[in-house]
């Protein structure tokens, strides 16, 4: 076991898959020679060469188009879109093309590709470089969607995504890049569609994703120490496929469901989950569900404002303890 950063886990995950499978190629802006604007891909060009690791122009549509055409014809591309906000620039390729090509052809096309991006807030980059847009991808049939919260999951879920025969949108969190975690030696694999129960407690079930996971865990510790409330914390990890089996089981254990979502209020991943719980597990609830989210606003740039609107550890603690 070693402790590595989330950003180094990205490098290691891509390298692991490129080493294993010669059909894996990687392209994006500043990913090769510069090692990535977030330093997530240093050394890959040196290790795998310019045939397999390619710098592109600032052309998001062309990046994803090339990935899709290559995936249709025998390659397994990993395409980087630098900031998840930029999905808006190439949304046709994601929502209309790669998500639908197999369906429209009733199976003639297989698209084993991964689109990875830097998602999320906390770095004072302002409204157009800080969004959490995993719900945009979740809303489009034909896309698998994952968002790891720790270095081990980065490697394992990236491996699972690369090996998956369908398009996977891989949401890294830019605020988590410097965070550290233990990873085993050797090859790391995982599966899409599986949530992780990180902590068990009988009073509340807290679902979180990506950068909200460490906040939910910290809140659970505070709730235990300060209020005697024991919370289960579930790292959702995979939005599509969604591990409702685990989520429903954990909600049934406590009867109280909370989500911690970095996205703006409307139509976040938590809205879908609480809707499913209301439909299928109403009887297991002993109180109303509560979604803890950023308000429905663009994100401000000033640090004081940004910190105020994102779900903080204190806001999670206050909301859960008030509710119970």
């Amino acid at each position: 076991m070693t402790v590595i950063t989330y950003r180094d886990a990205v490098t290691r995950g891509i390298a692991q898959e490129m080493q294993r499978d010669p059909s894996v190629v990687f392209l994006g802006e500043d990913v090769a020679a510069a090692g990535g604007v977030f330093k997530t891909t240093p050394g890959l060009l040196e290790q795998f060469g310019p045939r397999r690791v390619r710098d592109t122009p600032i052309s998001e549509q062309a990046i994803l188009g090339a990935a899709m055409g290559a995936a249709m014809t025998g390659l397994r591309p990993i395409a980087e879109i630098m900031f998840s906000d930029f999905f808006a620039v190439c949304w046709d390729l994601i929502a209309n093309e790669m998500a639908k090509s197999r369906y429209m052809s009733d199976g003639q096309v297989t698209l084993p590709l991964v689109v990875r991006c830097a998602n999320g807030a906390g770095l004072r980059f302002g409204a157009q470089h800080s969004q959490s847009v995993e719900n945009w991808a979740m809303a489009v049939p034909g896309l698998k969607v994952v968002a790891p919260s720790n270095p081990r999951d980065v490697i394992g879920l990236l491996a699972a995504a690369v090996r998956d025969p369908d398009p996977v949108i891989f949401f890294e969190h830019k605020g988590l890049y410097p965070s550290r975690g233990e990873v085993p030696d050797g090859e790391i694999t995982d599966e899409l569609g599986r949530a992780s129960v990180l902590r068990r407690g009988g009073d509340a079930t807290i679902l979180a994703l990506a950068a909200m996971v460490p906040r939910a865990l910290a809140a659970a510790e505070k709730l235990s120490a300060e209020d005697g409330i024991e919370a289960t914390v579930v790292d959702v990890r995979s939005l599509v496929p969604l591990d409702m089996r685990t989520i429903l089981a954990e909600v049934a254990r406590t009867g109280r469901l909370f989500t911690v979502e970095e996205n703006p209020r409307l139509c976040g991943w938590g809205a879908e989950i609480v809707s499913i719980v209301a439909e299928e597990a109403f009887g297991s609830l002993t109180g109303p569900v509560t979604r803890i989210t950023t308000p429905h606003i663009p994100l401000p740039a000033a640090d004081r404002l940004e910190d105020h609107v994102l779900p903080s550890v204190d806001r999670i603690v206050e909301t859960v303890s008030k509710a119970l």
């Binding site: 549509q61 188009g65 090339a66 249709m72 025998g74 390729l93 369906y103 429209m104 569609g193």
Partner: protein
């Protein structure tokens, strides 16, 4: 230019007459409400599809627009499968899941017809890159309309293709109209594709899109150069739709004298005249016309007899496992 062999010439004529008769039947079936939704017919533009497809190798890739019946038929996809797709039957090319605008036949390297204008250009770069990566000599041919030259994906695709020197040949079928609007009124330069070529380090190439042998020759040269590692090409083929933009559009915005002038340059009778002028027996061409009509009739019957798609097909093949499950 050396005269092409008669066998090739007859192939070109066969493709054009088959496309002509198929599209006419598609129009009739739409008027009988057997083809639903909409369809975008290529009547009048047969020479581009025939000439380019004839220059392609069997394992080359092809991307087409939503006006793609011509090209798919020219590459050999059976008429029945295309007709049945238009009729929404399970024996359709995509079992009725895609429809007229999204024809796709991977068995023939036809990586799809695209309804979002410009999308196919950026995707075509991918199959071209893949061929280079895998070390094959496959070339990717990508068709687009004149309207597509003004959309962002055109710029991104051409730039990347040039920077990466990809084996992709972009063929702009300039039928003078961006849907309902004359292309010249919405384009900053007179030749929508050719006048942009230099921006990507490419030579401007303009060809009479209604002269099937001229198209064939230009295509051969561009494909050959791409196949030899010479990089991409952008070809502008001048042509004209005989009908409206889609079946819903009678095309009344086009001036009568312009329509008359282009109808007089109909590529199919024009090529008949070229061939008979070279000494080809008209009866040979009549037989090709007759065969085409019979093939279209057979395809029509087989499509009409095709089963309505089983309801469960609505749920198939979102994913590679054949299903659509998003949760456990």
């Amino acid at each position: 230019m050396p005269e092409i062999p008669e066998s090739t010439a007859l192939e070109l004529y066969r493709k054009m007459t088959e496309i002509r008769q198929f599209e006419k039947r598609a129009y009739d079936l739409f008027m009988q409400n057997l083809v639903k939704g909409t369809t975008h017919l290529g009547t009048g533009q047969e020479a581009v599809a025939a000439g380019v497809s004839q220059a392609m190798a069997d394992d080359d890739y092809m991307f087409v627009t939503y006006r793609g019946h011509n090209h798919v038929l020219a590459r050999g996809t059976p008429m029945t499968q295309v007709m049945a797709e238009l009729l929404g039957r399970e024996n359709g090319l995509m079992h009725g899941k895609g429809g007229s605008m999204h024809l796709l036949d991977t068995s023939r390297g036809i990586l799809g017809a695209y309804a979002i204008i410009g999308a196919q250009l950026v995707i075509a770069n991918g199959s071209a890159w893949s061929a280079v990566y895998r070390g094959t000599s496959q070339v990717t041919v990508c068709f687009l309309g004149d309207g597509a030259t003004n959309i962002g994906a055109f710029h991104e695709a051409l730039n990347l293709a040039s920077v990466w020197q990809l084996p992709v040949v972009f063929i702009c079928e300039n039928n003078q109209y961006m849907e309902y609007t004359p292309i010249t009124s919405v384009t900053a330069v007179p030749r929508p594709a050719a006048d942009r070529a230099a921006s990507y380090g490419l030579d401007p190439v303009v060809v009479d899109g209604n002269d099937v042998e001229a198209v064939y020759e230009v295509a051969q040269a561009a494909l050959g150069r791409a196949r030899d590692g010479g990089g991409p090409a952008l070809i502008e083929a001048l042509t004209y739709r005989h009908g409206g933009h889609s079946r819903a559009d009678p095309g009344k915005y086009r001036p009568d004298d312009e329509v008359k002038e282009w109808l007089a340059r109909d590529p199919v009778p024009a090529y008949r005249a070229v061939l008979t002028g070279r000494g080809v027996d008209p009866a040979v061409l009549d037989e090709l016309d007759r065969n085409a009509r019979e093939a279209v009739d057979r395809a029509t019957e087989e499509a009409k007899a095709g089963p309505l798609p089983r309801l469960e097909l609505a749920g198939t093949n979102v994913w590679a496992d054949g299903g659509n499950a998003w949760r456990n």
